[in-house]
Amino acid sequence: MAELEVRDLRFRYGAKQALDGVSFVRPEGSFCALLGPNGAGKSTLVSLLTRLLVAPEGEIAIAGHDLARAPRRALADLGVVFQQPTLDLNLTVRQNMRYFAALHGLPRRGLDARIDAALDRLDMAERAQERVSALNGGHRRRMELARALLHKPRVLLLDEPTVGLDAAARAAIVGHVHDLADEGLCVLWTTHLTDEVRNDDHLLVLHEGRLLADGVTRDICGQTPLLDWFLDRTGAAA
């Protein structure tokens, strides 16, 4: 079943066409990398998928709910990790999680157990009482991931989630998210780094507001390394 459906999405900032007829469909239990150079339209797509912006043309459906007609239901099934950190540094990990839970209307009964379970999954349980300002970049990201899963979304959107992380933290978070996809989540992972994309991942390549490719990575580039294929097609530094 299609968990994330984008149909003929168009968006412009004044005279600049940021997205020009983007369409794709992603099923449950899949990891999809959305690759594109800077300025390709990734951030615009993320803003549209999270309803920070509303597109005048095209449709977005999350877990079967049309984002324009039923935004509450659609957003309730969407987990997001933004590129910018969205944590309150002065609050503890648990306070941050509670704030998010309330924003999503989760019941208070059993909430702490739910938070513990979400943190435990990402090996963050012992950090629950720490202030976020005391955590390193990798732990903050893991916390944001745990938070994005707290309301049990069916679609997980991550916008360049490894920016600013060291190699070990990057590898860990890429691994975690692949595991989540294996367990049934529909994952859309935007990046401009080709080394985060595995050969058997589904790949969308966005360039100048249009999709250049939509398929399994190895089918798209064949024997050519993804980086070379990507540079060749987009003419941009990855």
């Binding site: 912006l53 509303v54 933004f82 950190p85 969205t86 309150d88 924003l103 208070r108």
Partner: protein, 263 residues
């Protein structure tokens, strides 16, 4: 509907925790009106003679006259402060977290506004408490009666802050708000001098002051402190709140262009 109250509690709780963590902000919010009250007013009491005007029934000292204006000043500065923190939130990304909540945007913004207002009101009471220590007191029940006026005035000025925050692209631009919003609003009002005094020097200035919604916040507070209702001030403040709130909701509407470059 379930969850609405939980969202309100969480957003207001976060505002409160943030406030507690910024003790300097609390001190600044108290020191500012106290300087006006204890220094400025002391210096000017001789220069500015006041006649008996409603709601006062006897001659009053200048310090007593400017207390309502200074209460409104606390609300004004806090409204702008919360606008500043909205711009900060947008730059830091936590605005995205708020706006991607499945609850309606107007409710999220309203809760944010109410949270900031309640913090302002706490500061006003702290100010009134200190003023009372200096023997500048109001009728006892006036302190209770003024509460709805403070909340309404706080909402109006907070809504103004929301509207402004949608136009301010960077934190650095905030100095402009000081110059072009806070100072004109405060000085072109009845906070420091009654409107009839203003009319003596310039009819035009008087008319501007009478048009300034901040004047009506001050007058609403002034009358409530003396257990009276200034109906025209109340109508002005209600109307201004409705207009500003509508503008704020429009400014934060995802389908409008305002957030495109900044959100």
């Amino acid at each position: 509907m379930t969850g609405y109250w939980g969202v309100a509690r969480a957003i207001m709780g976060r505002e409160f925790l943030r406030f507690v963590h910024q003790r300097e902000r609390f001190l600044a919010a108290l020191v500012r009106p106290l300087i006006w009250l204890l220094v400025f007013a002391a210096g000017f009491r001789a220069a500015l003679g006041l006649s008996i005007i409603p709601p006062y029934q006897t001659y009053i000292t200048y310090e007593t006259y400017i207390v309502p204006g200074l209460c409104a000043m606390v609300l004004l500065f806090n409204g702008m402060q919360s606008s500043l923190s909205l711009v900060y939130d947008r730059e830091m990304g936590s605005m995205r977290l708020l706006l991607t909540s499945p609850f309606p945007r107007w409710w999220l913004l309203f809760c944010r506004l109410l949270g900031a207002t309640l913090i302002s009101v706490l500061q006003v009471y702290a100010f009134l408490g200190i003023a009372a220590l200096f023997d500048i007191t109001m009728p006892l029940w006036g302190y209770v009666a003024v509460l709805p006026g403070l909340v309404l005035g706080g909402l109006m000025l907070g809504a103004l802050g929301l509207v402004l925050s949608s136009f301010i692209t960077q934190l650095e631009n905030f100095a402009g708000v000081m110059n072009f919003v806070i100072f004109p609003m405060f000085f072109l009002s009845s906070a420091l001098y009654p409107l009839w005094k203003m009319a003596e020097s310039s009819e035009l200035l008087h008319d501007i002051c009478a048009f300034n919604p901040f004047t009506h916040v001050v007058e609403l507070i002034r009358f409530l402190l003396y257990l009276q209702i200034n109906w025209s001030a109340l109508a002005w403040v209600l109307g201004s709140t409705a207009v500003l709130a509508a503008l704020a909701i429009r400014a934060y509407d995802p389908s409008r262009a305002l957030m495109k470059r900044k959100g």
